[in-house]
Amino acid sequence: MRRSPRRRIATALWCAVAVFVFVCSTFPVYWMIKTSLTPNNEVRSRDLELWPANLTLRNYETVLFDPGRTPFLPALSMSLVVTLATVLIAAVLAFFAAVAISRFRFRSRTGFIVAVIAIQMLPLEAMMVSLYRVLDSWQLLNTAMALILVYVATVLPFTIWTLRGFVDGVPIELEEAAMIDGCSRVGAFFRVTFPLLAPGLVATGVFAFIQAWNEFLIALIVNTRPDLMTLPVWLRTFLTLNGTTNWAAIMAGSTLMAIPVVIFFLIIQGRMATGMAAGAVKG
């Protein structure tokens, strides 16, 4: 295709806008990292310095090893345990449920679909009062189990819904063909359909991961012991310290908390965008 000069100018303009969007969306991230690498006394300067003059790792040392603070590593491992358990359990349960509503027609199916959508609208935050008391009555307060249970339950409706779109997307004829070739029903499903669901499982896993990794309120209420804090609750303890806030240290802590998510995102991003849209369109 030939391109007219007007079209080229337009494209150049769009590219400029794209660069602007890139700067806007990454600037806070840059500023966080920059602050985290600046000596604490220089953070309190009224001069506008866009580049760090003296780089230091001191703030990371403070955050990681200062005996006066709640340590980072227990919070990190708590977050990892809770998040990974949530992702695994939610993926398995959502997978079963998605297969059920996508591959079978049964009497309570419509009711189940309506329930799945309705539950997504319940604000869990509105339920924290009774959630707290129910967990208390099950003697689960101050356990990792409580958070895993709550997070699995909260991500399930969305993950079932998304996965269902993916199972719908695999034509059932493929399974039937495999069955004619001698596969059992279950065998056909696992040999033919399951491999094609990989992007769907990735998309739902990502969703569960982000939700569980970032959740703040439930973790704040359910676990009050310092050794059971997840990273968001750990990070918040810095804010409420009396006296002058150590912004450089907070930014170091924020960076540490964001790094795993960013890495995770960058690894899978390509699959995810297409995956989520496929789920949404089919839904």
Partner: protein, 315 residues
């Protein structure tokens, strides 16, 4: 009769009855684990919450005193309280601003991505991805720091780069309008990538032949967008709007953390934060329960028309 039976039988798949019976139990078995977890962790507390909202339930009851049934008293108290209405309108107005800006920006960026040459598209997606990957709490703290009165980069830039002396030592979080400006930026910044990626992925599924055919028939870009692209995008837009609406109406983390940094709680609380203050900090679980029930009702009422659209496309 017998003859008919024998004639018809071979036409039926031979194992159909057995397969159907197996299907009867299997799907329910597959649904059971997910249903059990959701029922226990969401359903049961929901029932408890409904009961709680009709009881007088304060600190004394937490420590074992039997709770007294007061039926609608909690609701009457909440609905008769001017503070509640102020919080409600604030929440709804704030969510409306956030949802509309997020959707418009998200759609705009998706359309932009479509027009970009590949390297620029990748650059932009990486930027959006970074914003998206930031945990809400981290993002709020970072933005709060950027809007810091004395050492914030925003005040610094407005003062030194744009020469606006008004913004020297401006306290953004102290006055409610400034507070919600910052909150809107934090939320929209974090939510736009999700919408942009979803809409962009939807745009890639618009059949090119249809667009070309419409162009040959003389349809301009606006006409092509409204007649071909929009209907194709509709399901995605509906879902994205519902999700944004729910998330923004029940916003908690960003508001709570910004208040930690420097907002005045009484003038900046949204429904989620207000419930927390009443129930968890205030120890009045009964009133908190009534507030929570009302919040759920509000969210459902607002999201209902969109939900119905979605369900219609389902059937």
């Amino acid at each position: 009769m017998l003859e008919v039976e024998t004639v018809v039988a071979p036409a039926r798949p031979p194992r159909a009855p057995r397969a159907r019976r197996r299907a009867g139990a299997l799907p329910l078995l597959l649904l059971a684990p997910a249903t059990a977890v959701v029922a226990a962790v969401i359903g049961w507390p929901l029932v408890q919450l409904a009961l709680l909202s009709f009881q007088e339930f304060g600190r004394a009851q937490v420590f074992g005193q039997p709770a007294e049934w007061v039926w609608l008293d909690n609701y009457i108290a909440v609905l008769g309280d001017g503070v509640f209405w102020a919080v409600l309108w604030r929440t709804v107005a704030f969510a409306a601003v956030c949802v509309v800006s997020t959707m418009l920006l998200g759609i705009g960026l998706a359309l932009l991505m479509q027009r970009l040459p590949k390297p620029f598209r990748i650059l932009m997606s990486v930027g959006l991805l970074l914003a998206w990957a930031m945990p809400a709490l981290t993002a709020t703290i970072v933005w709060g720091w950027m809007f810091d009165t004395d050492y914030g980069v925003v005040n610094g830039m407005l003062r030194d780069v744009l020469g606006l002396a008004d913004f020297d030592r401006r306290s953004w979080l102290i006055d409610p309008l400034g507070f919600f400006t910052v909150a809107t930026i934090v939320i929209v910044w974090g939510a736009v990538p999700f919408v942009a990626f979803m809409v962009f992925a939807g745009l890639t599924q618009v059949p090119e032949e249809q667009m070309e055919a419409a162009a040959l028939d003389g349809a301009g870009p606006v006409k092509r967008f409204s007649a071909i692209v929009l209907p194709q995008l509709a399901p995605i837009l509906v879902i994205a709007t519902i999700l944004q609406l729910i998330w923004d109406l029940r916003v908690f983390t960003q508001i709570f953390a910004l208040q930690d940094i420097g907002g005045i709680r009484a003038e900046t609380s949204t429904l989620g934060v207000y419930i927390y203050q009443t129930a968890i900090s205030g120890g009045d679980f009964g009133t908190g329960g009534a507030l929570a029930m009302i919040t759920m009702l509000v969210i459902m009422l607002i999201a209902f028309p969109l939900m119905r659209r979605m369900l219609r496309s389902e059937s």
